[in-house]
């Protein structure tokens, strides 16, 4: 009897330790052992040549000592799938890891994280999907998830119930209320080839005045194909105002913004979610005014319109949406003629246009 109990106990212990043990084995290889499952090779390759190469797999993906049964069960399940020859075509991370991965980002990129957290792009699922005013006016749909909740595995009907315009709406999984709908990994591919960027201030590392720099990690996570598309490959739309082609900044980073802040098919400035600059601000990059992570613009006006400027105008006090959201003059599209309704004074034309 004793022997049976002992054997059973040992067996149970063995089973319990099996997956963490295997995990430990993979960790000890500095990542290379992960690639014994060949579907891991591309992920290993991109990580190994990325700026995050010195951060061990387990740091983000969990390790043998992770206290989470689901994590180890999931690993066991993967091993089983692999053995069955059921190979995944793509490997990505599940929505439930979004928070954890964001926390990993935070542990190094504190400033960026803090800005993001205080900005609109950190809005959680509850804020985005349970907006009564929105949901009454517009039926929720799957395409919402393209920009809000791109890592969510399921359709809108799995996330919010009911999918109707009458409500009341609730999240099918209430624990997702604070899940960021645009996590770090929306715009950043951690496993991305590219040299680590040098710290600014180091001799010779500052980009010239006409250069724009893009972090090597900048890439869009396209929910529809589950692919990261590097920012350099993203299309820049040819925006129009009526038939006129609008002057566009060459800053390629904007291509990332355009994926969500997108015009409707006719590519007209201001249509859909577009915010392309027109009028006095035509040709300026989104990032000239918007802070990259917090999207804040408060401090940006002074960059081009210092208090001590020749024109003597305090642009921050002018009647635009910068001052009040109710203003008729959207800062993105404001033109001289909007205020100078009887014609723009010559002097102003010279200095402002």
């Amino acid at each position: 009897m004793k022997k049976i109990v002992l054997t059973a106990g040992l067996l149970i212990a063995a089973c319990l330790l099996m997956t963490p043990g295997a995990t430990l084995y993979f960790e000890l290889g500095d990542g290379t052992r992960c690639t014994t499952c060949h579907e891991m090779q591309p992920l290993y390759d991109t990580w190994h040549s990325s700026s995050h190469r010195n951060i061990a797999c387990g740091k983000c993906h969990g390790d043998a000592f992770t206290v989470d049964v689901a994590f180890h069960m999931n690993n066991a399940h993967r091993a089983y799938s692999h053995l069955r020859g059921d190979l995944p075509e793509q490997i990505g991370f599940a929505n439930k890891y979004v928070l954890e991965i964001d926390q990993q980002c935070r542990s190094c990129h504190r400033e960026e994280y803090a800005k993001w957290e205080s900005g609109p792009h950190s809005a959680g699922f509850a804020r985005i999907f349970l907006d009564k005013k929105h949901n009454t006016a517009n039926m929720l749909m799957d395409d919402c998830l393209r920009c809000h909740g791109m890592y969510y595995e399921g359709g809108i009907a799995d996330l919010v119930q009911p999918v109707s315009r009458t409500g009341p709406w609730r999240l099918a999984q209430p624990e997702l209320a604070n899940m960021p709908s645009m996590p770090c990994a929306t715009c950043h591919q951690v496993h991305r080839q590219g040299e680590p960027m040098q710290k600014s201030g180091v001799e010779g590392s500052r980009p010239g005045p006409t250069q724009e720099v893009a972090r090597p990690s900048l890439a869009l996570f396209d929910r529809r194909t589950q692919l990261y598309v590097p920012v350099a490959d993203l299309p820049m739309p040819a925006m129009k105002e009526g038939e006129r082609a609008v002057k566009m900044s060459k800053d390629q980073r904007q291509a990332l913004c355009y994926q969500c802040h997108a015009p409707i098919a006719a590519m007209q400035v201001g249509s859909g979610d577009d915010r392309t600059g027109l009028g006095v601000h035509e040709g300026i990059s989104c990032l000239a005014c918007h802070d990259q992570h917090g999207e804040k613009t408060r401090a940006s006006c002074a960059t081009c319109h210092p208090k001590m400027s020749n024109c003597g105008l305090d642009v921050e006090k002018m009647d635009t949406t910068f001052v009040s959201a109710d203003s008729k003059h959207n800062v993105h599209w404001v033109k001289c003629a909007d205020c100078h309704t009887k014609g723009v004074p010559k002097k102003r034309q010279e200095t402002n246009q």
Partner: protein
Amino acid sequence: MWRRPGMRTDSSHSPPAAQVGRRVFLGVGLAAVGATVSCTRGTAGGTWRFFTPAQAQTVDAICAQLIPADQDPGAKEAGVVNFIDLQLSKRFKKYRAVYQQGIDAVDAASRSKFGTRFVELTGERQVEVLNVVEENSPVFFDLIVTHARQGFYGDPRHGGNRNMVSWKMLGLPFPPVRGREHYKG
């Protein structure tokens, strides 16, 4: 998500036999790993799921002739062989025999015509061999033409069209910039 055929970024990668040996030290937890490792095919020379390294080379060379590189990348650069290998382990399982025989037929045709393996021939001679194969093994040839097109013009997520090379060639923006009527709240 793609993989560079035959490329290993780390030479310290241990072959399966060595890993099985280490199981003794790492104990019970590694039993599963041993099985995992030993199931992979051809891990020593490359990471093919279905093909042997030699077969993969041949298929790669065939595809490179079916969709050659010119001013734009071709099937080789797009990793089409990777697409075919992956699909042969999934949805194209039913075509495995056709591929095995077809690859043999290509090498046989190459040997009888030029006395050496297909991959060692010049481009011109490879085309000559493929003309023979198209004539003599039409089932295999139709299949690999279809699959090469799928791998080249299809989605990168299936293992081909690496870096979206074919879409770039066609001037097709991806993902397209497309918004909707905006909610004004």
